[in-house]
């Protein structure tokens, strides 16, 4: 079985720039593929719902340029998943544009470029529901119904390995994929080389956040993964970082409900019987993973929809008496809002985020706040109408300045106002879909196009 080496320089392409020194070290290890995930649901529902990137194009271009130049120099394929944070069609088209621009600038090519679109029109899901498809809620969510779709502006399907394997087989040198399972973009080339589902998906799971699987903690440093039929070998490329059994195992459980299972279209990776072994100073080998196929194929759907416009106002309080009576102050301010605008939670909502007390943990906070020296309060107001959100937010914030307490000494103002203005925030969106839909073919929700980038004969060199 062919040994396959993959390098990945970043766990989320575009957020902050990759580190070039360890990437170059990885390039010197004779890799067969360069792979990077560019997506995340951690950025919240706004980027998907509004179809806007969360990352800055400066860093997206920086990373794509570094990887594309290396891939063309080494004559190896480059695979990028979940283009531009969300993996919508806009993200795929944006990354394809960047690849074309960089190729023209550096006179690269010709090479074959594959784009794989993962966005599904809301009406397409509506049609499938009508035709009897079950769109099953994950992790305790109710199944999707037409009302869920009414609240949804945009949907992406999360691809597995199949569409990526197809384009690799068709000779793609650069793959720009829409929303993809993080581990599938690594597993696809490993499966094409004949490696097991278990090793392929484990390798992907371990590498998807790049240097997060090493120690000490570092971001944006390159990791080398090697699969040769005797296990999955993970090596840190930064001179001061190591992949250890502890670091790899602790990454296996990172940001997941439980550490034993990773679900992908067609089954799940079972990590409960993995063993981890240090094979040299910087490398850990993992064996014992298994893959459990499922009788049917389900594809995950992510959906987001707009809820309201949003406005913010920032104040701080230093007076210990006011801080001690903050609940009364906020209660009074809310009472004034109700008087003027009707009940909170009706046509608008207001949230007082009290930094210094429990803004971070809110109801999960078990420790009563000791009297803080200062508190900062961010007032958040949401409302269908942007102008009304601004009006309500200004009063909701200014009422902290005019708070009425019987013993207050500071009768010139009971709050420090950072700037007497309402800040326009991005609209509030909500994750409406975290569901799976059963499909007959794992490719059926995705659309693939191949094109040639650069001049000359595209069949000359892949």
């Amino acid at each position: 079985m062919k040994t396959v080496r993959i390098i990945t320089p970043t766990g989320h392409l575009g957020t902050t720039p990759l580190e070039k020194a360890s990437f170059e070290r990885g390039c010197a290890e004779s890799p067969d593929f360069i792979v990077a995930d560019s997506g995340s649901a951690d950025i919240g529902p706004y980027p998907l719902g509004a179809d806007r990137p969360a990352s800055d194009e400066v860093w997206q271009r920086h990373d794509i340029e570094a990887m594309l130049l290396a891939a063309r120099r080494l004559r190896i394929p480059l695979i990028i998943g979940s283009a531009s944070d969300t993996g919508t069609n806009r993200g795929v088209d944006q990354y394809v544009r960047l690849v074309r621009e960089i190729a023209a600038e550096h006179r690269l090519g010709p090479f074959r470029l594959a784009k794989i679109y993962a966005e599904i029109p809301v009406d397409e899901v509506r049609r499938r529901l009508k035709d009897g498809a079950v769109v099953r809620g994950l992790n305790g969510r109710p199944d999707c119904d037409p009302v869920t779709l009414d609240r949804t502006d945009r949907i992406v399907a999360v691809m597995g390995t199949e569409p990526i394997r197809d384009v690799l087989r068709a000779g793609a040198a650069v793959v720009i994929a829409g929303r993809s399972s993080d581990c599938a973009i690594f597993a696809a080339p490993l499966l094409e080389a004949g490696h097991s589902l278990a090793d392929a998906f484990f390798c992907g799971k371990a590498m998807e956040c790049a240097s997060f699987c090493g120690e000490p903690f570092m971001g944006k440093e390159t990791i080398l993964g090697r699969v040769d039929g005797t296990g999955v070998y993970l090596t840190a490329m930064h001179p001061d970082q190591r992949c250890t059994p502890a670091s790899v195992a602790s990454h296996a459980m990172y940001e997941r409900l439980n550490p034993f299972r990773e679900y992908v279209p067609g089954g799940y990776l079972d990590m409960s019987t993995c063993s981890y072994e240090q094979v040299d100073g910087k490398t850990t080998r993992v064996t014992g993973q298994t893959f459990v196929p499922s009788p049917t194929t389900s594809i995950k759907l992510e959906g987001s929809g707009k809820v309201a416009e949003r406005a913010l106002f920032i104040t701080g309080i230093r007076d210990p008496y006011t801080i001690a009576n903050l609940d009364r102050v906020i209660g009074w301010a809310k009472g004034k809002l109700t008087e003027r605008f009707g009940p909170i939670g009706g046509t608008y909502n207001v949230f007082y985020h009290v930094y210094g007390r429990n803004a971070v943990m809110e109801a999960l906070e078990p420790t009563p706040a000791k009297a803080p020296l200062e508190v900062g309060i961010v007032v958040e107001v949401t409302c269908d109408d942007a102008a009304r959100a601004e009006t309500i937010c200004h009063i909701a914030g200014k009422n902290l300045f005019y708070a009425r307490l019987p013993e207050v000494k500071g009768t010139a103002g009971t709050a420090a106002i950072m700037s007497d203005e309402v800040l326009h925030a991005r609209p509030a969106y909500e994750w409406t879909l975290n569901h799976v839909i059963e499909v007959a073919d794992p490719r059926e929700l995705f659309r693939t196009q191949l094109e040639t980038v650069g001049a000359g004969d595209p069949t000359a060199r892949p």
Binding site: P45, G140, A252, C274, Y276, F351, V360, M361, A363, A428
Partner: protein
């Protein structure tokens, strides 16, 4: 001894859009066995610590290969909904520091 002295990593993070997961990773095997065998950390105890119903603790796992204990709490609203306080769920772990391990 307090948990913070026995663990090398105590962290919280989103696990998908509907959950926050907590990882307690011990410095070494001895510390891990001490934490595990004390039985102080269990599904009911973490539910009480964070003031949530036990049903919201969806997973509680002892993960031997990483010398770790992991549990997951279901969010009341998906991450990033209006009024969100911690989009990444990254700052919810601090109350675990002071848990006394005999």
């Amino acid at each position: 001894m307090k948990l913070v002295e026995l663990a090398s990593t105590i962290r919280s993070k989103n696990a998908g859009v509907d959950h926050i997961t907590f990882d307690v990773i011990c410095r070494d095997r001895a510390n891990f066995e001490r934490v595990r065998d004390s039985g102080v950390l269990n599904r009911g105890a973490v539910a009480r610590l964070f003031g949530v119903e036990e049903g919201r603790v969806t997973d509680f796992v002892v993960f031997e290969p990483a010398n770790a204990i992991k549990f997951t709490i279901r969010r009341l609203r998906p991450s990033g909904s209006m009024g969100e306080s911690d989009l990444f769920g990254a700052q919810q772990y601090a109350p675990l520091f002071d848990v006394e391990i005999p």
